[in-house]
């Protein structure tokens, strides 16, 4: 059992607006100049993800795919290819409970802007219509729009943590608007910011060498069950997993499938806590 008692200094922490939210990074046990160089490298990694995977930026990989991949295979950067490949793997494992092709529904709800010059999507298209070709090329078998908003933040956190680790801090944390990763010998406590209407207890996850992502489902919010293409009931979900890319994507799976997601969680060595008004807090442990 790791303790939460040994963080030797209060660390150096900075924050910037990126990925549509506030991204903060903290390192411990490094001299200030080295700590700031580490944090600069971490933010550079996040900025790369921001620029290549944004649905909003017209020249991002995602926008090019949405415009052109139905007609011709489109070459994308290594990170974009890696994220889309991971997204499709998670879709396969979760039988479509996570699906990056729900973008048209998010556009219809006004949560994303309508992509410019992209062909109108085919309502029957799913993740199965994304074809991963050699040499970082991707083709869509049907007209579809992808949005990586449900997974790219987690990936950015993982890449930022890689960058921080290059400077060998004793302890480090990257937090992209609540999707976070902690590395080092000490467990840290993370408060789950669920809107519960009861403040007699504070929900906390003590996390060491792992990632945590949270989502709150609400009517007309960004969480859509891809199988029914319908909004989720109001609930709060946090998923802990070794990698933040998986934690981020799996929040949507737990949102859609509740306790039925245990088998999927196990594949990613993940587990979840869920809160809703009817049942309060529940833990879903991954099992095979």
């Amino acid at each position: 059992m790791q303790s939460y008692s040994r963080i030797i200094d209060s660390g150096i922490e900075r924050a910037k607006p990126l990925l549509g939210t506030t991204v903060s990074m903290r390192v411990h046990g490094l001299p200030p100049a080295c700590a700031h160089a580490a944090i600069d490298a971490g933010f550079a990694a996040v900025r790369t993800v921001h620029e290549t995977m944004s649905f909003h930026e017209g020249d991002s990989d995602v926008s090019r795919l949405n415009r052109e991949a139905y007609r011709n295979p489109v070459a994308v950067s290594d990170p974009t290819y890696a994220v889309i490949a991971r997204a499709c793997a998670i879709s396969a494992i979760t039988k479509g409970a996570f699906d990056i092709t729900v973008a048209p529904l998010l556009v219809a709800r006004g949560l994303l802007p309508c992509p410019a010059r992209a062909p109108d999507p085919d309502g029957c298209a799913t993740w199965r219509d994304i074809e991963l070709l050699p040499a970082n090329h991707i083709r869509f078998r049907r007209r579809l729009w992808i949005d990586l908003g449900g997974i790219a933040k987690g990936y950015a956190v993982d890449r930022a943590m890689d960058a921080l680790q290059g400077f060998a801090p004793k302890q480090a944390c990257v937090n992209a608007g609540g999707d976070l990763r902690i590395a080092g010998p000490d467990a840290e406590r993370v408060r789950l910011d669920a809107d519960r209407g009861n403040d007699e207890t504070v929900p906390v996850i003590a996390l060491a060498n792992g990632s945590l992502a949270s989502s709150e489902g609400r009517p007309a919010g960004p969480h859509i069950d891809p199988r029914y293409r319908a909004a989720e009931a109001r609930q709060f979900v946090s998923v802990a997993a070794p990698r933040c890319i998986d934690a981020d994507a799996l929040t949507k799976v737990v949102m859609a499938r509740g306790a039925c997601s245990a088998r999927s969680l196990a594949i990613f060595s993940a587990h979840a806590v869920v809160h809703d008004a009817a049942f309060g807090w529940r833990e879903i442990r991954g099992h095979g």
Partner: protein, 174 residues
């Protein structure tokens, strides 16, 4: 990975220092990071009513105050400290502009955001009164992080747009 879920009685957390009440950088630290090796000349500006309305028209945002905290960097860039209203409280940030007025970098200086509904609960708030980052009396009880529904950074984006309009209308000819 180790992850353990706990429900802690709120009363047990009287000495915790949430990361969301963090002070990230002082003005001097932000200057040194954003313009390494440069020197700064304070050029505070009091905006006229006419300038305020022009800035509001150009940026489609509200100007919160008429005092502009601006510094000219020795390399020709500008360093501006301003704040935006977050979900509940002010968020101070620093904007670095290059000599052509393009955004060079943004740093959030402090974050006191997101106690959610608890912010209105005096009992909850009382536990944070007078706490600052560094008041780590008992690290064993610290809650260092918060995870929840993603908060938008739109207020900061709006603040940057307002300062870019301020630069064009007020500072560009300085």
């Amino acid at each position: 990975m180790q992850a353990r879920f706990l429900l802690i009685p709120a009363a047990a957390l009287t000495i915790s220092v949430p990361a969301h009440a963090a002070i990230y950088l002082s003005v001097e630290q932000a200057q040194a990071l954003m313009f390494p090796g440069e020197t700064f000349t304070a050029q505070p500006v009091t905006l006229t009513d006419d300038q305020v309305s022009k800035i509001e028209d150009a940026s489609d945002t509200n100007v919160l105050g008429n005092q502009l905290k601006a510094w000219k960097a020795s390399g020709g860039g500008w360093f501006i400290v301003d704040q935006v209203v977050g979900k509940h409280e002010f968020i101070p940030f620093a904007l670095a502009l290059d000599a052509n007025g393009a955004v060079k970098d943004i740093e959030i200086l402090e974050y006191r955001e997101s106690y959610g509904d608890e912010v209105r609960n005096p009992k909850w708030r009382a536990q944070f009164t007078g706490k600052h980052n560094g008041d780590t009396l008992k690290l064993t009880e610290d809650i260092q992080n918060i995870s929840g529904a993603t908060l938008s950074s739109k207020h900061i984006t709006d603040g940057v747009r307002r300062l870019l309009a301020t630069y064009a209308i007020v500072l560009a000819n300085h």
